[in-house]
């Protein structure tokens, strides 16, 4: 079980959280202008790094806020968490 530090509540067990996939995927400025392929790319294509990955998490059984986390997909080490709107920190 991971211990995930919610940027509001502090460290809580993984079971309190809900995973939200890759962070910083911006909604298209003008979705109607996209081709089917571009739209599919926005909807379905995500990075899949081995290493540090910026992800969205929701503290669903706690404060119910969404936030971002930098998690190493190979080691599960969490390098940092940051609130929505805050810039992505540099992984240590």
């Amino acid at each position: 079980m991971l211990l995930i530090p919610c940027p509001w509540c502090g460290p809580r067990e993984e079971a309190e959280f809900h995973y939200g996939g890759q962070a910083h995927v911006a909604y298209p400025e003008d979705p109607a202008a996209l081709s089917d392929e571009e739209w599919a790319r926005y909807l379905f294509f995500r990075d899949n790094p081995k290493g540090v990955f910026a992800e969205r998490w929701s503290h669903s059984a706690g404060c119910r806020r969404w936030f971002n986390a930098l998690r190493d997909t190979a080691t599960n080490r969490i390098h940092g968490v940051y609130r929505v709107g805050e810039p992505r920190p540099v992984a240590s």
């Binding site: 509540c9 502090g10 067990e13 079971a15 059984a61 706690g62 404060c63 119910r64 806020r65």
Partner: protein, 191 residues
Amino acid sequence: MAERRSPAAAYAGRFEAASRGEALRLAELPFLTQINVRVDPSSPAAGDLGDALGVPLPVEPNTAVRAGSGADEVTVAWLGPDEWLVVAPEGYRLELLRKARGDRHGSIVDVSAQRTTLLVTGPRARDLLAHGCALDLHPGVFGPGACAQTTLARAQVVLIPREDGFLVLVRSSFAAYLAEWLLDAAAEYVA
């Protein structure tokens, strides 16, 4: 008028039986008024709501404040950066909060029926909850003035520590499950 039944009413007798020893006291505090408040904490409306409650809305995560006495006694628990839960006696006048907010941005919602309140007190209260809760419940880090939304035996709860134990606010539909779990976990502490 329909008869009102609290979610854990059927457990009153077994709670009482489990409370006969020195170690534990289990009880339901039915029908408390619970109000969900959402407002920008830096807005004037938040200040006016604090005045109406008799205590400023706590902005520190995982904290709760108490104010007033008797029919005006309120506990205000932090639920999120712009969200609080007000727990007050039955009959608390939520219109006062609506009036304090006025027509400004924010929401005041009566959620009294969403959860019921279980009182878990006594010298073994902390040991009992620790059977199903991953948080450190030691009074040094989780004493009066704290609060937490977390899971107890996998059920979502709001925990509010008191001098002699804890308030456990649980969704009405999970109240029977949690009551059964508490009684089962309490077996080793009950004479």
